[in-house]
Amino acid sequence: MGELTPWLRLILRRKHRLTAGGLLMLATLLSGIGLLALSGWFITATALAGALLAAGYAMTLDVYVPGAGIRFFALTRTVSRYFERLYNHDTVLRLLADIRVMVFAAMARQPYRQQAKRKSADWLSRLTGDINALDNLYLQWLAPSAVVLLAFSLITLVLASVQWQLLYALLPLALIPPLLFVLFKICRKATADSQEGLSVLRSAALDTLSGQAELMAARHWQAHTDTLVTHSHELQELRSRVDRNISLGQSITTLLVQLSAFLVLVGGLSIWQSGGLSGPLVALFTLAVMALGEGLAMLPQAYGQLGATLVAAKRLNEDRPLATAATAITCNDSSLFRDQTLMAEGLSLRIEATPLLRPLSFRLAPGERLAVLGPSGSGKSTLADLVAGLLPDYEGTLNTLPGHALPSQPRWAASISYLPQQSWLFADTVRANLLLARSEADDEALWQVLHAVALDKVIRRLPQGLDSFIGEQGQYLSGGEGRRLALARALLRPASLLILDEPFTGVDESTRALVTERMAPYLESKTCLFLGHARSHLPNTDHQLSLG
């Protein structure tokens, strides 16, 4: 259960909302209990009074107060139920925002190399699922448990104050918490296994379908799809086992609640015979216990599935060490690197003995431009990542001051502008994508840089100009246009060191020439590192270095 601690702490930050939502939930349950219990009291009381009246006794029974009470509870039950659902769903959506921000902040503190796997669709859908499991923690588990416990305590207290000898009739209800705990224990492994099983089956299905041509030609297709079908049967069976356990838990809960109500009735009647309890009160407590069952009925499902939530929490904890500080450090001082020389001596990088970059040395004085050329796989992009400070585990030296390492990440990032080989465009407007680079830039500056990359005409033609939405991964732009927008963003950034890795991917030759000419003012007074597979695909430089 320890895996929930950071998340519970996060959820509990919204104390007031949680309390208000819980109180609404309690009001709904108590209204339901009040409605049935008071009705039962009323009918029994009137039946007894009617019998006395029929027998000729004179007596009065106030029918208006209980009648009004019954109408009151009927109304509050409906109204509080409606507002409870609305308010608590609102809370869940607010918690979703909290959880997302926390997960994102934790991910941002992770080393770059671990970020690579975030590209896989499988990983992303799992992240979404895990977060959803957590944002339901409050509504499905935390709040109902607390509310039912409170309502149960209330009934116990009232019964104890009226007739404590009947308290034994509530004993079956006391068995429900251990039952729920056992249910959680039994289902825990199976829910975790079925989650894992689904993930494995998904990637196996993806592999098989992606390799269909090869598998069919080799006549392995049948065997592979048969395995998929067998595994899907096994997974189905695992999930039904959880379902069966949960429904068993639900039926035992029903059994205990109804037995308790029955016991209250029979025990209450026998106490009534000895004069210790009035007839209408027997009916009241019986129906109160039955109405409490409504709140209890949801719990077995919540506890049976709790294992899945724990797995989700555990995975989120493992993937992202959750530090205490939730705010990211930012640095806007771009002058750090100005007038300094970038020096690399025997710089190399290997991962698990696989060399990604063979040792190399260079010096880059202020305002100088260096082109690094090499075929794909020669380590160009690794070098670019190294200089951008994304890969700290290199060998050799890389620094701006002899004897020191590169400044730490947020400070170093503030003085460089880096266009990686695979740039990312956000699903947002043209303006928002550009302003990332320089938040204070005005429209004129934006149009200017768009002109430099020959995108101004394209963007002006869009109905909303700078405020046009460019789609997910910039899909409303062509590949070359998207690349140039990313280039514009890199140029716009006020930085002392500019790193461009294959800046013209997907850009045709005439546009390339035009952009090279127009971007010249943006390169002035900047130290530049360009990387590409051919000289002709890069702007002019003072020096060049060949890799591989």
Binding site: T46, A97, A116, T128, M216, Q222, L265, L436
Partner: protein
């Protein structure tokens, strides 16, 4: 264009048509659910009887032992029926889902890689796993509950009517109003939801978008901005959702309202009746037994409907899935028929591949993809197919592999119909298994030795890469989240071909999209395959690869030009 209503109707028909393998379990689920209602009735009857017998009739508790035992028995049987209902429901859709999954697999097979070319593996996987699973709630919960909704309330109504027809009338009158109000409210919510569909889709994608671009945000020192975007996007998402929920929750409020009002009305009517304040109708004959019994039954009358409302989203999910699955399963599969019968042909017995006057037309296409193609390839020959894209090269390869059948003419591969015996295939997307290097290499031939695997890896220049891993051949092909690059995947597939000893290997653009190093490795490996005596047919644009072929045939508008 089909209207949403027509789509829903079609989806319903499809769901009904698929029900058969599970109908027994669905019936049993509904039966057990009806049992719950029945025994609840008995339990409440016993309880009301006990209260009446003691409080009004003044009988001693000891005389009521049979009723007490009857009540306890009813409670036990009620719980038992509930457990059975859950038990049957858990497996109710197993057979149905298995059948749909198998049908989908059969459909993949029949359409083959050519027929499925336009659909991503991700889409097919989602259909096969998630969409099929979305059917479960419909068969296991919604359908049985629909039956229970018809039987349960009717049963309760009859019992109430037998005691007091006026109270039964209250219940009867409120019941048909409920679905009406719920439908009205539901329609409102749906319309509101459709208005915001696009914004909602954009906002729900925003979080993953920022997660995927996290490095970019870091480089621009804009992590804070990313956090603000996520918070603001989720906030906007919340506000729009609340607008819909405000109306959607009204439908459950309607149910609550009727069930609360029914209890209140019944309680006050019964109470006043018992006091003798009501002197028309059956009210004069009310007793504590009938009064208490009717009161306890009033909420139960609405209970099945409330549960049905909870399962309504199961129905919506299943209808959505059904529409997708129906589309996939109904697609015409005429592109591929695999010949299972292995018959030896005498024609061209000296050749590895014989194509005899083959023409091929895709279903629905106006022009032919292949036009009277004749070809004979002797064993061990390496044939290149050149031509612009769309000329028919890939179609010819697919026909040789048996992925599609010729409209006229005949093909023989090693004397058998295409697809009848294993051959090698190398496309641009090789098969990769989530597993070790060894598992991937042993795919065609499980008995291949470790040294042979290392040798094959050496030939494609992957030996150092694999040996540098801690577990060597047993290490996973993708580790620490670092996948296999496109070039590595192609090298791995090539190594597998070297180990497999296929008599015939077909290659579709084996060097497309590769860097120069990998390209050279692949060309070398193709030469080794040829040295092994393998017959090769290679479709390619690559001049130096075509130059190593024994013969190059130009394919143009579906015709093969020899020479």
């Amino acid at each position: 264009m089909t209207s949403p209503a027509a789509t829903t109707a079609a989806a319903k028909v499809w769901l009904a048509g698929r029900k058969a393998p599970g109908s027994q379990a669905i019936r049993l689920t509904a039966l057990a659910g009806t049992g719950v209602v029945l025994f609840t009735l008995v339990q409440f009857g016993c309880m009301a009887w006990l209260a009446h017998a003691l409080l009004i009739a003044g009988e001693p508790l000891a005389n009521q032992l049979p009723v007490i035992l009857g009540g306890v028995l009813a409670i036990v049987l009620r719980a038992l029926c509930q457990a059975l209902q859950g038990r049957y429901a858990a497996n109710a859709s197993d057979a149905i889902r298995n059948r749909v999954r198998q049908d989908l697999v059969r459909q993949w097979h029949q359409r083959g890689p050519v027929g499925l070319a336009g659909v991503s593996a991700g889409t097919l996987t989602t259909e096969w796993l998630d969409q099929v699973d979305a059917l479960h709630g419909y068969y296991a919960r919604f359908l049985p509950q629909l039956t229970i909704c018809m039987v349960g309330p009717l049963l309760i109504l009859l019992v109430v009517a037998s005691m007091d027809w006026l109270a039964a009338l209250f219940l009867l009158l409120s019941a048909p109003l409920i679905p009406l109000f719920m439908a009205l409210v539901g329609m409102g919510a749906e319309r509101l939801n459709q208005q915001h569909m696009e914004t909602l889709a954009r906002l729900s994608g925003l979080f993953l978008d920022r997660v995927r671009g996290i490095t970019t945000l870091q480089l621009f020192g804009a992590i804070g901005q990313g956090q603000r975007d996520i918070a603001a996007g989720t906030e906007a998402y919340r506000l729009i959702n609340l607008k819909t929920l405000r109306i959607a929750f009204l439908s459950s409020a309607v149910l609550e309202f009727f069930s609360s009002v029914a209890i209140a009305v019944v309680a006050i009517y019964v109470g006043f009746g018992l006091l003798g304040y009501i002197d028309y109708g059956p009210a004069g004959e009310l007793t504590l037994f009938t009064g208490l019994f009717i009161l306890m039954l009033a909420p139960e009358f609405f209970q099945p409907l409330r549960q049905l409302a909870q399962h309504y989203h199961d129905r919506a999910a299943a209808l959505g899935a059904a529409a997708e699955l129906e589309k996939r399963l109904d697609e015409v599969a005429v592109t591929h028929t695999i010949q299972q019968a292995v018959q030896t042909s005498t024609a061209g017995s000296g050749s590895a591949i014989v194509v005899d006057n083959v023409s091929l037309q895709y279903p629905g296409a106006t022009n032919t993809a292949l036009e009277q193609v004749c070809l004979a390839v002797p064993p061990g020959e390496m044939i290149g197919l050149s031509g612009v894209s769309g000329s028919g090269k890939s179609t010819l390869l697919a026909a040789l592999a048996g992925f599609i059948s010729p409209t006229t003419g005949q093909i023989r591969v090693m004397g058998h119909p295409p697809g009848a015996m294993p051959i090698g295939w190398l496309g641009q997307q090789p098969f990769l298994k989530h597993g070790s290097w060894a598992e991937n290499l042993q795919l065609a031939n499980a008995t291949v030795s470790e040294s042979a695997m290392l040798d094959a890896l050496r030939q494609v220049g992957l030996d150092n890469h694999v040996l540098s891993r801690r577990a060597g051949l047993q290490s996973a092909i993708s580790e620490q989240g670092q996948g296999v690059s496109g070039g590595q995947a192609r090298r791995l597939a090539m190594a597998r071909l070297l180990l497999a000893n296929y008599p015939v290997v077909l290659m579709d653009e084996p060097t497309a999209g590769l860097d120069q190093d990998t390209e050279a490795v692949i060309v070398q490996a193709i030469k080794s395959l040829k040295r092994q005596g393998c017959t090769l047919v290679i479709a390619s644009h690559h001049p130096s690869l075509l130059a190593t072929c024994d013969r190059v045939l130009r394919v143009q508008e579906g015709r093969v030009q020899h020479g």
